[in-house]
Structures are given as structure tokens and as C-alpha cells.
């Protein structure tokens, strides 16, 4: 499942009995280019390169394994490490808070998540805590209407924290409540303070960062700020049906020490899938 240039680099290791540093270096360079071209953070790529170089030389190939297979296994293991931890999605009573940059896909993902839990047979409702974006409540409630899910919102009101409080009280009987919030970024101090308050008031069981698959090197700093603010415990990558490879999301995973919970791959409510590390890696390197 490796891209063409990586396959060529690996060929150079074929038939060797000892790890050839130059061949490994060439493989690392090709791998770096593939990862950088897929928006993986420059520092993460450097760290990964170093790990592969060191391990290829220090570790003995296990009995019966060729040098080429050995290095390939190291590359694969190091890439899997970048994917972060596997995150389970429990089917219990829970409150999920979604946060992320402007336009990342939070509102659409809120409806998709509601659909996911609904299909698992659970009672689910959503709260629109976006009091800023014109038409936000209209957008979310239209999506929820399509699947008959309750959408709590207060038209014309501006206090997002109060809406969350009231909404949770009103929906206390619902098993899964998902909270949609307005887009915000690291430099918007007032909005960062707001999401901290929303998190506190909601006592969210999960705080997931919704990140666009095409987000570039900025992913690292933004994820770090969100994590510092509300302790992110999962990442959802959206718009994977485009051509972006989602490398930026790996920075988010690394900064939040969490994992990728779901992948959004389309505009409709059904377009949500559980994360599959192997296919993600193939796409990253392809």
C-alpha cells in the first residue's frame, strides 16, 4: 500500500543482508517528501525520520526477515504511532462537545454524529451553541429535521453558555447530546474563553476537535491551543472526500495525545465513517 516513489526506494534495500545507511537515507528522504506533501507537520516528519534512521541501524532484523522487510516494518510501525491511540466510541449516556476552526465542518458533523448514534438505536439530541453565525440554527435544525432529531437552540439569543445550560437541563432524559459551537481560532481570546466556559458548564464526556483534511502547517498550533483550553480527547477529520490527505490532522492527534475518532467524507448526513489507520496511511503515502 505504498506510493510509487516509496516502492522504488524500498527496492534499493532488496537483496541486502546488512542495512545500507545510504539506502535507508534515500528511503527516508522519499518518505519525508510524501509526508510533507500531505501536510504532516515539519517537526513530526523530522522526528519520524530520526526514529526510522536510528531503528533501522540499531535494531537487528528478526530471524527470517529480510533487511527490506525489516525496514518496511519499522516505517509502518512509526507511521502507525503517528496515528495516535485508537479511540473507542462508547454507546452510553454521554455529552459530546465539538470545537474547531471556522468552516471546518462542525455543524454538518454534529448532524452526522446524531445520525450515527441514532442508527445504533440511541436517543440523541443536539444543541446549537453557535449564536454568532447567521443562519447557524437554521442550518443545524434543517439537518436534524431530515433525521427527526431534536435540535435545541434559542433564536435571537447571544449567550452561548446559557443556551448550553438550558439545553442540557431540557434534554436531561436524552442519552446522547451533541453540542455544536461556533468556529474560533487560537488568537480569538474571547472565543477561547467562551469554549472553556461551555466545556465547564456542559461537563462534556468528550471534547472532539473537528479539523478540515486540507488544513496545513497551522494545524499544530491551533490544536495545541484548543487542547490547552478544553482538553481535547478525539479528532474528527472532515472533507476526506476531496483530495486532501489529512496530514495536518496528525499534528492535532500529536498535540492532543488522542486519536482520530471519525472521518467525514461527504456533505450528506450519512457520510461519516470510523477511522481506519491502514487506509489512512495508504492515502497519506499514495
Amino acid at each position: 500500500h505504498l506510493g510509487a516513489s516509496l516502492k522504488d526506494a524500498l527496492k534499493k534495500l532488496a537483496g541486502k543482508t546488512v542495512v545500507d545507511r545510504a539506502a535507508v537515507e534515500e528511503l527516508v528522504r522519499d518518505l519525508q517528501r510524501a509526508l510533507l506533501g500531505a501536510d504532516v507537520n515539519v517537526r513530526l516528519v523530522k522526528g519520524l525520520s530520526e526514529a526510522i534512521r536510528t531503528r533501522s541501524v540499531d535494531e537487528q532484523p528478526p530471524k527470517g526477515m529480510s533487511v527490506r522487510e525489516h525496514v518496511l516494518r519499522i516505517v509502518y510501525q512509526e507511521l502507525i504511532r503517528l496515528m495516535g491511540s485508537t479511540t473507542d466510541v462508547s454507546l452510553q449516556h454521554q455529552r459530546i462537545l465539538l470545537a474547531g476552526l471556522q468552516g471546518s465542518g462542525k455543524t454538518t458533523t454534529t448532524a452526522k454524529l446524531a445520525r450515527y448514534f441514532q442508527r445504533k438505536g440511541m436517543k440523541v439530541a443536539v444543541i446549537c451553541a453557535d449564536t454568532f453565525r447567521p443562519g447557524a440554527l437554521d442550518q443545524l435544525s434543517t439537518l436534524c429535521q431530515q433525521i427527526g432529531v431534536t435540535c435545541y437552540g434559542e433564536p435571537g439569543k447571544e449567550d452561548a453558555v446559557a443556551i448550553v445550560k438550558k439545553g442540557l437541563a431540557k434534554l436531561s432524559g436524552t442519552e446522547v447530546v451533541i453540542i455544536d459551537t461556533q468556529g474560533r481560532h487560537a488568537l480569538e481570546k474571547t472565543l477561547i474563553d467562551e469554549i472553556i466556559q461551555i466545556n465547564t458548564v456542559s461537563k462534556a464526556d468528550h471534547r472532539w476537535l473537528v479539523i478540515d483534511a486540507a488544513l496545513g502547517q497551522q494545524a499544530s498550533e491551533q490544536a495545541r491551543r484548543f487542547h490547552e483550553a478544553i482538553d481535547i480527547d478525539g479528532v474528527i477529520i472532515t472533507k476526506m472526500d476531496g483530495t486532501a490527505k489529512g496530514g495536518g490532522a496528525l499534528s492535532a492527534v500529536s498535540e492532543t495525545r488522542s486519536g482520530i475518532v471519525f472521518i467525514g467524507a461527504g456533505e450528506t448526513i450519512e457520510d461519516l465513517e470510523r477511522f481506519d489507520p491502514d487506509s489512512f496511511i495508504s492515502r497519506l503515502l499514495g
Binding site: R33, L36, G37, A38, D39, V42, L101, Q102, G103, S104, G105, F132, R133, P134, G135, A136, D138, Q139, L140, T142, L143, H185, A186, L187, D212, A213, A214, L215, G216, Q217, Q218, E221, Q222, K239, D241, G242, T243, A244, K245, G247, G248, E267
Partner: protein
Amino acid sequence: LVVGEKEIRAPLQELEMVLLENDVALPVTDEILRAVRERLVGTHRRVGESPDLLVRKALRESLLQVLGKGFDLLEYCNGHKKPVRILFTGVNGTGKTTTVAKVGHYLKEHGCSVVIASGDTFRAGALEQLAIHAERVGIRVIQHQQGGDPSAVLYDAVEYAGAHGVDVVLADSAGRFHNRVNLMNQLEKMKRVMDPDLVVYVDEAVAGNDAVIRAQEFAELVGTDAVILTKADMDSRGGAAVSVAHTVGKPIMFLGTGQGYSDILPFTPELVVSELLG
């Protein structure tokens, strides 16, 4: 002293890191540095002039050349037969709708009359979103019902502008990905029906390597006359501007710098280059 490959290698590698970390796409970074290397090797430098300074100077000139000279929208509108027709394109969530409102506000502030065409008849909440924006900036918006033909809305808006002596028609379109054939065909049809003077491609300043692919596809499939990069307030240092300008070869008209109607800046290449290279 003749400039050799060896002495500029370290400064080039260092600048490669700077460009990549600031979101200049990998193939664009490669191409720009290759051109700088080609330009410098074999030339002469004074004894006191360090290779590092020489490389920085050459890169600065290269970047300025790539970024172009911006686009004076007011000058364009004033000099063109009315109504000036502008179609906004781009993938999902990049800020097109907000940008249409901002550009409308900007034109209105500078004495142009504007009408907005609500070309996203598909997405949930799109009509209401644009209706509210238009009301807030005091600009008339032409809308049809949800699910209607977007080309019909654009046509309607151009007719309206012609009949009422409006200077500029700004047409919003639904976000769509370049790999969706039917959606790109729909956009192409919208363009044929509207026959815009300008097709303005909108992407976000924080997009990474995919910015190159999608800019290229939109330029090929629909055509792009100018670019607007949004969300430049996210502390992005403008590398995407280099990626997109290099790929499309068209001027960058504005930078979006926030969510308010005044958060729009006519693009100046010098600012981006100073941010990137210090």
C-alpha cells in the same frame, strides 16, 4: 567571487524549512528554490556579501514576482461596462458567502451600487445566512427557493441589475469539490449563463498542499481571474498565497482577515514576503 552550488546549499535548505513551515506547498517550494539556485549559480558576488544574504535577496525577488501586483477591484469596476458581473467559486467552507458580503460592503463604501445573487440553493441554511448578511450590509439579495436552479438565480440577478442600473452583481455559489464532476459541471453552467467579467476563486490562507491541487482544478475546469484568500487572521504567515499565486498565475485581490464586514484587505505582496522572510 563566483557563486558556487556548495556555498548556497545551506542557506537554501534553511529557507526551504521556512517556506514549508509557513504553508508554501512542497512542489511550489521546490520550484521556487530550484529557480533561485539556477539564477544564482555562476553569477558573481562581492567579497563582503554573504551567500546567505545573497540567497535571501534572490528569494525575496522571486516571491515578489510570484505573488504579482494584487488587483484593484474599484479601478476595474469603474472602468467597466455595467453591470460588472463577478462569480465567486471555491470548495466547501472557505468563506465565500462571508466574502461576498465583505466585498459588497467594500464596494458600497466606495460608492458602487451592488446586488447579490444567492447562488447556493443547496446547502442547509445557505439562503438564510446570505439573506442576513445582505440585510446587515444594506444590499439587495436576489434569492429563489431552496433546491432551485442556481443558474436561474444568477440570470435573474443580472437582469435585475441591468434593469435598475446597478453597478456590480456579486454571485455566491455553493461550496463544491473539484473531484465532483456533476458539481463542477453545474458551476460551469452557472458561468455560461451569467457570463461573468470576473471569476474570483476563494480559498483559505490556512490550507496546505491541497490548495495547489484545487486551485489548479478550478482554474482548468471553470477558469479563475483573481483569488481571495480568507482566514489570514488565523496567524497564518501567507504561504498559501505563494502556493496559489504560483499555481494559478492570477492576482490575489483581497485577504480576508476576520469575520466582520470590514475584515478585508487589498492584497499587498510586500507584506506577505516580509512575514515569510522577516
